[in-house]
């Protein structure tokens, strides 16, 4: 039911936002037309889903609430990627990669030294391949003095 209501809410936001888009001069179908159609469809589909879920719920109680412990892994992965986005330009690719990936690997393997070692080697190899060979401008950050 939550998914259906969320979809419906997103639909309302899209319809509202589409209404603020400029009209195309002399045309009945401006840039807001298509998005508002999508928004309206989302509202309808969301309602259908919510109603169906509500009806099923009365027949069938008890949903599979998942243990909080399982979410730690996912949360760490999300956190690692967020940290990368925030830190990479300042800390540089190598350090940020180790800082972000090693904790994830540690959580999965429970072996700290190995995780840091593998991540460090991985970061150097990936950097060499993408920066030097394929010319992707991965940032050096604080390591700029030793960069090439």
């Amino acid at each position: 039911m939550a998914s259906g209501l969320t979809a419906g809410a997103v639909g309302i936001v899209i319809v509202a936002a589409a209404a603020n888009l400029p009209e195309a001069a002399g045309q009945s179908f401006g840039p807001g037309f298509f998005p508002s159609l999508i928004g309206k469809a989302l509202i309808i589909a969301g309602l259908v889903l919510a109603i169906r879920a509500w009806r099923d719920k009365r027949l069938l109680t008890g949903s599979g609430a998942s243990a909080a412990v399982g979410w730690i892994g996912s949360a760490l992965v999300v956190g690692a990627l967020l940290a990368y986005v925030l830190l990479a330009d300042w800390l540089g690719f190598h350090l940020t990669a180790i800082l972000c990936i090693a904790p994830v690997m540690w959580l999965f393997t429970r072996r700290l030294v190995m995780s840091i070692a593998i991540t460090a080697i991985g970061a150097v190899c990936v950097h060499a391949a993408f920066y030097s060979l394929l010319r992707v401008p991965l940032p050096w950050g604080v390591l700029q003095p030793i960069g090439w």
Binding site: S3, G11, L42, Y84
Partner: protein, 505 residues
């Protein structure tokens, strides 16, 4: 003839062949590891195709997908864990064969009939695509509007088990596609004043998020069990294959045909092809009671179907730019990036590219035999690679790939957003494939609609009063009636439930 030779020379040069070979090994590895899907292999491959010429890039994608779909059978047979969702339909059956001591027969059949299925799908592609393209040269925006409509309709009705959820998934994809300035009016939409969003959502970063990061999130959330070790000793793989080919020629042919057709339908790919082929096989079998006990018949039919679906999916992709499945959705993104815009003009302007693609398909499916053989022989080693180390390493690779897509951390952020979106959608039972189709077809749908309305002076009747456009419109309506008819008959619901329980691609 000149174009044919030119196409050959594009394929048979060392650089292209080397890329195809490497992509094949990559595809076999990713396909064989449970939790890493064929679509994920493609998404991870995309950042590397930036740095390749168009033909090697396309070759890499064709080879990678063919190998990955086959390789999914290996852990399915040996460990009862499908390597990709496309193998899920017959995992129980082939594992039962393993328990009966027939692992090598099951794997030999999987390999041989995968390759044959792939070649069958390719032959249909070779025969059908140019004819359809010739027909499509007469298409205008009206017809393209309905083609896009038909594609989206199929994605919701045929490809998915749960229609309201599939519809919402599709609408999410369409909504994301409206972001940016790439619309007929050229007005910036939903950019929130962000410069990065002006050019729209970067497709590659989104794909890596959808198919790779979401998979890592799922692994992180699971209990992260270590895969059981492979016990079986495998002998000669092809010893009984001649006999199987004679005995089950009909099943094999039917599996090929079913797979190609389902592959060609937008939104339904290799995984659904395998489910349908398995069901068809059981239904028409003389010995349906043997199914589920380790009977090779259903395995042959469905393993043929999932590889045949790959070639089938390229038919609408090449001719109309409408993806037949999630894999070709990614391929279309790459084709645009490489300036090989799909559509009938590609057949007229660059026939050598078309011949090169056909040749690459044949080469990839022939390469499948020796490389697949080697992969089966090395299965024990491949399956003992610890996932606890592999998954974070893939995450690192994802970061670099998404970064390379935009040359900034913005790509990584985008990847994260779509990774979480894909993860939440799957966890909530929303199929991801319709969203991808919406993302790819959204611009085409809107542009063809606006262009049609402009030339028809805003008259909606104009959409249906051309013969081909009208026919396509009727076809759309018919597909929409399918679920209604089903509801009335309530017959296929059981089969759909089974599919709904299986992990999506």
């Amino acid at each position: 003839m000149d174009a044919l030779l030119k196409g050959f020379s594009l394929v048979f040069e060392w650089h292209t062949m080397l890329v195809v070979l490497l992509a094949s090994v990559f595809g076999l590895f990713v396909g064989a590891i449970p939790g890493l899907t064929a679509t994920m292999a493609m998404a991870l491959l995309v950042p590397l195709t930036f740095f390749l010429g168009p033909i090697p890039a396309v070759g890499a994608m064709i080879a990678c997908s063919a190998m990955a779909i086959f390789a999914g059978d290996i852990p399915g047979t040996l460990l009862r864990i499908p390597g990709t969702p496309a193998s899920a339909a017959y995992t129980d059956e082939s594992y039962a064969m393993t328990r009966n001591g027939q692992a090598q027969l099951a794997l030999g059949a999987n390999l041989l009939f995968s390759a044959i299925g792939g070649i069958f799908g390719t032959l249909v592609l070779i025969l059908a695509a140019p004819t359809l393209a010739d027909f499509a040269t007469r298409f205008s925006s009206f017809e393209y509007f309905w083609m896009a409509m038909l594609g989206l309709t199929c994605a919701v009705v045929i490809g998915a088990a749960d229609m309201p959820k599939a519809t919402i998934s599709l609408l999410i994809g369409l909504a994301v596609a409206t972001i940016g300035i790439n619309n007929p009016a050229g007005a910036p939409r939903f950019t929130f004043g962000n410069l990065n969003l002006i050019s729209g959502v970067d497709f590659i970063a989104a794909m890596i998020g959808f198919f790779a990061v979401s998979e890592i999130l799922r692994y992180a959330r699971s209990d992260r069990k270590v895969l059981p070790a492979v016990q079986q000793e495998l002998g000669h793989l092809f010893s009984n294959c001649g006999k199987l080919m004679r005995q089950y020629w009909l099943q094999q042919l039917r599996g090929n045909a079913v797979g190609t057709v389902i592959g060609a339908l937008p939104g339904a790919g290799a995984d659904i092809a395998a489910w349908v082929a398995y069901a068809v096989s059981k239904k028409f079998s003389k010995t349906p009671e043997k199914f589920g006990t380790g009977h090779v018949e259903g395995v042959i039919e469905s393993t043929s179907a999932n590889n045949a679906a790959l070639g089938g999916a390229w038919i609408p992709a090449m001719v109309f730019g409408i993806p037949g499945d999630t894999i070709t959705a990614i391929v279309i993104g790459v084709l645009y990036m490489k300036g090989m815009n799909p559509g009938p003009s590609m057949f007229i302007k660059n026939p050598e590219n078309i011949y090169a693609i056909f040749t690459l398909f044949i080469v990839a499916n022939l390469l499948l035999l020796p490389l697949g053989w080697a992969a089966i022989k090395m299965a024990r080693k491949v399956l003992s690679v610890p996932q606890a180390i592999l998954m974070p390493s893939i995450l690192l690779f994802c970061i670099v790939g998404a970064y390379a897509a935009t040359n900034s951390s913005y790509g990584v952020l985008l990847m994260l957003v779509f990774g979480v979106l894909g993860f939440v959608m799957e966890a909530r039972g929303f199929p991801v494939a319709p969203a991808i189709l919406g993302l790819v077809l959204g611009p085409m749908l809107e542009e063809s609609f606006i262009n049609s309305m402009t030339s028809a002076d805003g008259n909606l009747i104009g959409l249906v009063n051309r013969p081909v456009a009208g026919t396509l419109a009727v076809l759309c309506a018919v597909v929409w009636l399918v679920p209604v008819a089903e509801l009335v008959r309530g017959k296929f619901r059981g089969a759909r439930r089974v599919r709904a329980d299986a992990p999506g691609s």
